[in-house]
Every structure is written in C-alpha cells, then in structure tokens.
C-alpha cells in the first residue's frame, strides 16, 4: 500500500493524541490532558458538523444547539437524581451508559424537528433558520429558571461509567478519545457508503439526484440527525468534563466557533476537523492567556482564513488533489 501525504499526516495526528498522557507525565502537568480532552470533545463536534457543511453543503449555523441539548440532558438527569425529585416519574440517573445515550437521543430528536423544518429551505435561508432555532433553544434555557436559567446548572460529580468513577483526568481522556475514534470511524464509513455518495451527489446537484430517484430530503434529514446525535454526545462529555452546563453552550458564538474549527481545519476531509479543533483551542488558549481582548486578534485571523485559505490548514498540508 502506498502511503499518501494524507495517510502520513493522519498517523501523525493519531500518534499525537496517543502521546498526550505520556507527555503530561514528562511535563508533570495535568493541564496538557485537560486541554487535549477539550480538543477531543470539540473534535467530535467538528467531525459531526463537517458531515453537514463539508460533505452535504448544508451550512448549519446552529450546531451548538445539539451540543447544548446533550449537555443539558446529562445535567438534568443528574440534577433530578441529586435532588431526589422524579421527572415524569423517573428518578434521573448518574450512569453514563444511560445518560449519554439519552443525551444523544435528545439532541437527535431536537435535530429531527429543527432539521425537518430547516431542510425545506436551502442556501442562505438554511443558514439563518438554523441560527434562529438554535437561538430559540438558547432563550428557552435562559428562561428555565428551575434549571438555573442564565446561571447554568452544576453537576455535583461526573457520571459513573458502568458503575466506575471517571474523575481521573487520564481515564476521562481515554474515554473521550475512544468516543472521537468511534465518531471518526462512523464518519469514514458513511463517507464511502451509498448514503454518503447520495449526500455528496446532492451537494453537487440536488436536481440530478432527485431525477435519479433519490429522496434527497430524507437523506439530508438523516445526516442532520446523525450529526446532531454526535454533537449531543460531545455535549454530554463536555458537561462531564466541566461538571457544569449553561445556556452559553448553545449560544450563537459557539455555533460560529464550531464552523471556524471545521473550515480552519479543512472541509470534507476526515482528519481536517480534528486538526481545526486542535488549532482553534491552542490559539484560543494562547491568545486568551496573552490578553483579555483576544477576540480583537482572533477575529481578523478568522477573516484572513475565510478570505485567503478557504481550504483550511488540512487542505494546505495535504497538497492538491490528494483526498
């Protein structure tokens, strides 16, 4: 098998992720692990968003909504358990194997409804409508004073994973990394499946795919729901890492940041979104350590990427024609 440039870089990225815990031991600091965990979680969101933006040419500007729904599903389940208040006759849960699939289900259900409405439109309408619905959920959680409203909701402890504590930074990192690996595998399988072909075909020409007899709307809705579920899983992980959720998880700025990650990394490439998430978080943590007004520098940077490097970092790394 001939190793392409993409193959080499993919292996480098994978090795970097695997080396993080050892690097942390060498440096004697857990901050590296915390940062890498955040990268892994954001990378899941970026991979899911790329399935819509990159592969299907569906620019969703409200992806933070599903991230937030996943986070809130976990936090609310734990909240009811901790306060001993049943919700609809259910005691709530602190078990990851129940709460995380629940988070994915809630986020997927949200994506189903929002997607069903938004996918009736296209182009710039789609951008604005996904943004508007995400904003609607944002205001909904702000107004839900019972669950903390503006101030957010704290989790007293991380979820248990099959009954085991996952408070150790390394253990939690491996779990997040495994989740990212599964999402990447799924994304890769979809890319090369008939389902993925239809999505890419419809991105190139919706009319042609419709003429070939494919129900494009249903395929797109399925992709929208799958992407929403992945983002929901990432939200559940994020809630566990920070033991805190707030409406900020669903804010439009976060949706914008997710888009920046995907594009900075490179659209419709398997590893591009992962690189983008890593680059975004590294730049953010560097700039925000340097000045409180880091957005003043980061904004023009985003602008430059959009104008001069629409193929992203990965696109620049992997060269031309290589997929």
């Amino acid at each position: 098998m001939k190793l392409t440039r993409t193959g080499v870089f993919t292996i480098v990225v994978a090795l970097a992720f695997l080396a993080v815990p050892y690097a942390a031991t060498l440096l004697g600091s857990n901050y590296v692990i915390t940062l890498a965990t955040r990268v892994a979680i954001y990378a899941i969101v970026a991979v899911s968003l790329d399935m819509l933006v990159g592969r299907s040419n569906l620019v969703s500007f409200g992806h933070a909504a599903y991230f937030g729904l996943g986070g809130y599903a976990v936090a609310i389940s734990a909240f009811h358990l901790a306060n001993d208040v049943p919700i609809f006759g259910w005691a709530g849960t602190n078990e990851a194997l129940i709460a995380w699939p629940l988070a994915m289900f809630v986020a997927g259900f949200g994506a189903l409804i929002i997607g069903a409405l938004s996918l009736r439109t296209a182009g710039v309408y789609f951008i604005m409508i996904t943004l508007a619905f995400a904003q609607m959920l944002f205001f909904l959680f702000v107004a839900l004073k019972y669950y903390g409203g503006d101030d957010g909701l704290s989790l007293s402890t991380r979820n248990l994973f099959a009954g085991n504590r996952i408070t150790d930074a390394r253990t939690f990192y491996w779990i997040c990394l495994a989740a990212l690996a599964i999402c990447l595998l799924l994304s890769w399988r979809i890319l090369n499946s008939r389902f993925g072909m239809v999505l890419r075909g419809a991105a190139a020409s919706e009319r042609r795919m419709a003429a070939l007899g494919f129900p494009v709307y249903r395929y797109r809705l399925a992709a929208f729901v799958i992407a929403g579920m992945m983002a929901g899983l990432a939200g559940a992980l994020w809630a566990n890492q920070n033991r805190f959720v707030s409406p900020d998880m669903l804010s439009w700025v976060r949706s914008g940041e997710f888009l920046v990650m995907v594009i900075m990394g490179g659209l419709s490439s398997l590893v591009g979104p992962v690189v983008g998430a890593a680059a975004f978080l590294l730049i953010e943590s560097y700039l925000s350590g340097w000045t409180e007004h880091w957005q003043m520098v980061f904004g023009p940077f985003v602008l430059l990427v959009a104008v001069f490097a629409p193929r992203g970092l990965w696109g620049a790394l992997r060269g031309k024609g290589d997929v």
Partner: protein
C-alpha cells in the same frame, strides 16, 4: 384597553426599528448576494459613536449625525476592504469572514470603551409625554422614533421605485451582468448600497440608545431577530422586510406582554411563571416556523 393600545404602540416602535436593520440587510443580500453577519456590529457602532458624542458634547442632536457618520464610514470601509472580496464566494466564506468581523468589533469596543453599558439621555425636547388619546400618555421620544421609521420606509420606497439609483438597484439585483454591460459602475453602486444599509443600521443604533443600554453584544441580539424578520418576509424584498418587521415586532411585544398573563389565568403558581417566560421569549421563532411551513421562501418571495 389602554394597556393593549400602549403595547400596540410599543410593538409598532420595535417593528420600525427592526425594519431599519432589515432593510439594509435585505438590500445587501438582494443586490450583492452577501450575507453580512456584521450588520449588527454597524448598529452597535452607531450606538457607541452616538453615546460617545452625546457624552462629549452633551446634546443628542450632535450624537445623531456622529452615529450616522460612524456607521456609514465603517460600512463603506468594510465593503471596500472585506466584503468586496466575498461577492463571488460561497455563503460559507461570507459567514466566516463576517463572523470574524463581529469578533473584532466586539473585542475592539470592549477594549476601547469598556464592558459596562453606557447610558444616553433622551433629548430634552422629546423627554415629555404626549397624550395621544384622552388618558393615554405616550413618551414623545418613542413617537418621534416611529415618525423617523415611517419616514425612512417611505423614503426608501420612493428611492427604489422612482429614482435612477433605485432603478439601478432593482436592475442590479435582477441581472447584475446586464447592468454592468450597460456601462454602470457596479462596484461604486455596491459600495453605495452597502454604506446606505450601514447608515440605516447606525440610525437604528443611535435612536435606540436613550431607551436601551448601549453595550457590547447589543448588535448580535438584534441581528438574529432581524434574520427572523427577513426570513419571514422573504430575503431580498424590501416590502417583505417591512411586512416581516411588523409581524415579528408585534408578535414579540404582544407576546411578552400578554402570554404570561394569559397563562396565569388558567394555570397557577411557578409553573405558569416559568412557562410564560419561556414561551414569550420563543414566540417569534414559532411564528417563523409557522411561516416556513406554509411558505418556505417567506411571505414575499423574490424570484431567482
């Protein structure tokens, strides 16, 4: 009854403010095909320049031209430096680039003016109340805002349907290449339209100063509501922007005023409070969803 009338007027006033923003956004999209997220930043810049000028000079009547000039100049610079490069690009690049602009402007304002909200005084000539009906006083300033909104709407209508520049705008949004082939300097026209949209956003920003707090992030809140307005009205259509602004402004104001009250009349306790607050804050999005189910391209769809 008085309460209803007062809320109707508040709704109308919000509608006209939304229209000032929506008109610029929809014009820019209709004629240039650019989705400009930083439109809300122009509104914020207008408000800040106005508040700054008012604090320096002590009079609203200098704040108004300062806000307008700042927004129009920044708008023109934005078009020449950034937006111009985005005409031929896909929406994704436009979204990303203008998102970067928002981050920059928010960071810049927070750095130069601080994060605490600024306050602006109502001009003394308009600080009183006008009794519009016996027993129904209404703030003169808000009435003046409505007057300006109506005047701008009429002026825009006249400009677009009766003047040469309006003819070029209509033609440019329909068949850009043809207008260019006829020898019109399309680049100049685009800069002009963009600056006009910025001017309207700045006008909305300065006028809103005395009734709301001027702060970082004020632009985005109103921007997303403006998106709802033009999606409902039909993107690219001024008439649609007007209809959408009326519908959304009214629904939002009346919803916030009466939905919690109505809920309380047949529910009780904290549930009604929570639900009322939540429902009234999402009502405009529900209206948008409804419109989309019935008419996916808005109330006044633009062909092409």
């Amino acid at each position: 009854m008085q309460l209803v009338l007062e809320q109707l007027l508040n709704g109308l006033q919000l509608s006209l403010t939304l229209f000032l923003l929506a008109a610029g956004l929809t014009l820019v999209f209709g004629i240039m095909g650019v989705i400009n997220l930083a439109h809300g930043s122009l509104y914020m810049i207008g408000a800040y320049a106005g508040a700054w000028a008012a604090a320096k000079t002590g009079t609203f009547w200098l704040a108004l031209p300062a806000g307008l000039a700042a927004a129009a100049l920044v708008g023109a610079a934005m078009e020449l430096l950034v937006v111009r490069r985005l005409y031929a690009r896909e929406h994704l690049s436009q979204v990303l680039a203008t998102f970067g602009l928002i981050l920059f402007f928010n960071g810049f304002i927070a750095w130069s003016a601080g994060r605490s909200p600024l306050l602006m005084e109502t001009p003394p000539q308009l600080s009183g109340f006008v009794e519009i009906l016996p027993g129904l006083p209404y703030p003169a300033y808000r009435l003046a805002m409505m007057g300006v909104g109506v005047a701008v709407a009429l002026g825009l209508w006249y400009m677009i349907s009766r003047t040469r520049i309006g003819m070029l705008i209509r033609a440019g949004s329909d068949k850009r290449e043809m207008v260019e082939a006829l020898g019109v300097d399309i680049a100049k026209l685009f800069t002009l339209v963009f600056a006009l949209g910025a001017l309207l956003a700045g006008l909305a920003g300065v006028m809103v100063g005395p009734i709301r707090s001027v702060q970082v992030g004020m632009g985005e809140q109103v921007l997303i509501t403006t998106f709802v307005v033009i999606v409902v009205g039909g993107i690219g259509s001024i008439r649609g922007a007007f209809a959408g602004a009326l519908l959304i402004g009214m629904c939002d104001t009346l919803g916030r005023a009466f939905v919690p009250m109505l809920l309380k009349s047949w529910l009780s306790g904290p549930l009604a409070d929570g639900l009322g607050g939540a429902l009234s804050s999402v009502i405009i999005y529900l209206v948008m969803a409804l419109v989309l189910i019935v008419r996916p391209r808005g109330l006044f769809p633009v062909s092409g």
